[in-house]
Symmetry: C2
Subunit: 232 residues, 2 copies
DNA sequence: CTAAGGTGTGAATCACGGTTCAGAACTTGG
DNA sequence: CCAAGTTCTGAACCGTGATTCACACCTTAG
C-alpha cells in the first residue's frame, strides 16, 4: 500500500481549508454573503472550484461556517465586555450597547451580513442561535439589575428582546450597504441614544430631589439627559 | 376593422388581473411569498402561466403589488386607530402597539411575510417605504407626546425606531412560521409587555403620590405595573 | 522507478423557476 | 359566417450558480 495520507498532507489540507474560509470571510466582509460564490471563493483562495468541494460538503455549509466563526468572535467580544457580574447592571448594559453598536458601525458590511442579509436556511439557523445568545446575555443582565434593585421588575425575556430590537432597528438604517457611512459623531450619538432609551425603559426614576413641603408634586420631572437630534 | 377591445373585454381583463392578485395574496397569506410561484398563482387564479404575463410585467412586480396592497391596508388600519391627535399620546401609542401587534399575531403568516420574509429587491423597496411610514407615525406620536408634556424630550426619530424595533423583535419569535401559534393569553401578555416597555422608555415617572413632609423622598418608586413572565 | 492511491482541475451537468412565443381559441363588427 | 384582430395556452427556453466527474497530476512506500 504505497500511499497513505501523512502529517504534511493533512496539514496542507487543513491550510487549504482555512485559506478558503478566510477567502470567503473576506468576500463576505467586503460585499456580503451574496458575493461569496463558490467561484469567487475558489479564486481568492487560490484553489479550483472543484477542490472547494473536497473541503466542504456544500456552499451552504461553508457559509454557515464562515458565519459561525465571525459571529462567535463578535459574541465573545461582547460577552467579555459584559462579563463582570460585579458591575452595576446599568453599566453592563451600557457596555453591551456601546460595544455591540460600536463594532457594528465599524464593520458595517459584515455587521449587516451577520445581522440582516438573507442567505440560506443553514445560516438562518446559525443566526437564530446567536440571536438567542445575545438575548440570553441581555436577559441575564436585566435579571441581575432587578436583583440588585437597579431595574424595575418586569418580564426579563420580553425586556431583553425589546432591548435588542431597539438596538437593531436603530442601527439598521446606518448599516444598509446602500447608505453612506455615518460620521463618527453621529455614530456616538446613535449608540448613546439607544443606551439612554433602553435604560429609561428598565430603570426606575432617579430619586426626586427633596421637595420643599407645600410645593406641588405634580410638576416633578425626572432629570433625564436630553438627547440631541440624530435621526437617519 | 372587425375587432376592437370593448368595455366588456376591458372589464374581463381587469377581473382577471384582480383574480390573479387575489390568488397571489392567498398564497402569500398561507405560505409566504416563496410559495407564490408564477405557476401556483396561475393555477389558483384559473389562468395559464403565460397570461399572468399579459397582466403583469414580471413576477417581482406582481409580488410588489401584492405587498403594497396588503401592507397599505394594514397601515391604514393602524393610522386609523391612532388618528385622533386630540387623544393623549400615551393612549395613541398604546393603541398603535395593540393594533399592530394584535393584527400581526392574528395573521401570523402574512405578518411574517410582510415584515420579515426575504423576497426580492422590488418588495424590499416597498417594505422600506412602509417601514418609514410606521416610523413617521410613531415619531409623530412621540413628538406630540413631548409637546403635551407626556413624554420626555429625546430624539424623536431614534425613539420611534427603537419603539418599532422593540415591537418587531418582541413579536418575531411568535410570528416565525415554524413556531406554534401562541395562546390568546400569551398574545395579550406580549402586546401589553411591549406597550409598558415602550411607555416606560418614553414617559417621565408618574407624579409621586403626595409626600407627607419629612418622609424621605429617596425611596420613591414609580408605580409601574409588574408584568407576568411571558417569554417565548 | 513504479504501482497504488490521493488530490486538483474546470468544463459539463443539473436544478430551478421565471420568461417567452408559436399557435390555438376566441371576440368583434360587418 | 368571415376576416381581422386579441387573448390564452403551456411546453420550450434561458440565466444563474451550485455541484459533479473524468482526467491529469502528485505523493508515498516498497
Amino acid at each position: 500500500m504505497p500511499y497513505r495520507p501523512t502529517a504534511l498532507t493533512r496539514k496542507n489540507a487543513a491550510d487549504k481549508r482555512a485559506a478558503l474560509l478566510r477567502a470567503a470571510r473576506a468576500l463576505v466582509a467586503a460585499d456580503g454573503f451574496r458575493a461569496a460564490t463558490v467561484a469567487a471563493i475558489a479564486a481568492r483562495g487560490q484553489a479550483s472550484v472543484g477542490s472547494v468541494y473536497s473541503h466542504f460538503d456544500s456552499r451552504d455549509l461553508l457559509l454557515a461556517e464562515v458565519f459561525r466563526s465571525a459571529a462567535s468572535h463578535e459574541l465573545a467580544v461582547v460577552r467579555d465586555a459584559v462579563a463582570d457580574t460585579g458591575q452595576p447592571a446599568t453599566d453592563r448594559l451600557g457596555d453591551l450597547i456601546r460595544v455591540f453598536g460600536g463594532r457594528a458601525l465599524q464593520g458595517r458590511r459584515m455587521a449587516w451580513a451577520l445581522l440582516f442579509e438573507p442567505v440560506n436556511p443553514a445560516v438562518e439557523a446559525e443566526r437564530l442561535t446567536y440571536r438567542r445568545s445575545y438575548t440570553e446575555i441581555t436577559e441575564q443582565i436585566v435579571r441581575s439589575g432587578q436583583e440588585r434593585g437597579e431595574f424595575l421588575p418586569q418580564d426579563t425575556g420580553l425586556a431583553a428582546s425589546a432591548v435588542l430590537g431597539a438596538i437593531s432597528e436603530a442601527l439598521v438604517g446606518w448599516l444598509r450597504p446602500e447608505s453612506p457611512p455615518p460620521l463618527p459623531q453621529a455614530q456616538a450619538d446613535v449608540v448613546d441614544g439607544i443606551r439612554l432609551f433602553c435604560l429609561r425603559a428598565l430603570t426606575p426614576p432617579v430619586p426626586a430631589p427633596p421637595v420643599p413641603p407645600g410645593t406641588g408634586a405634580g410638576s416633578a420631572r425626572r432629570p433625564h439627559r436630553q438627547d440631541r437630534r440624530v435621526g437617519p
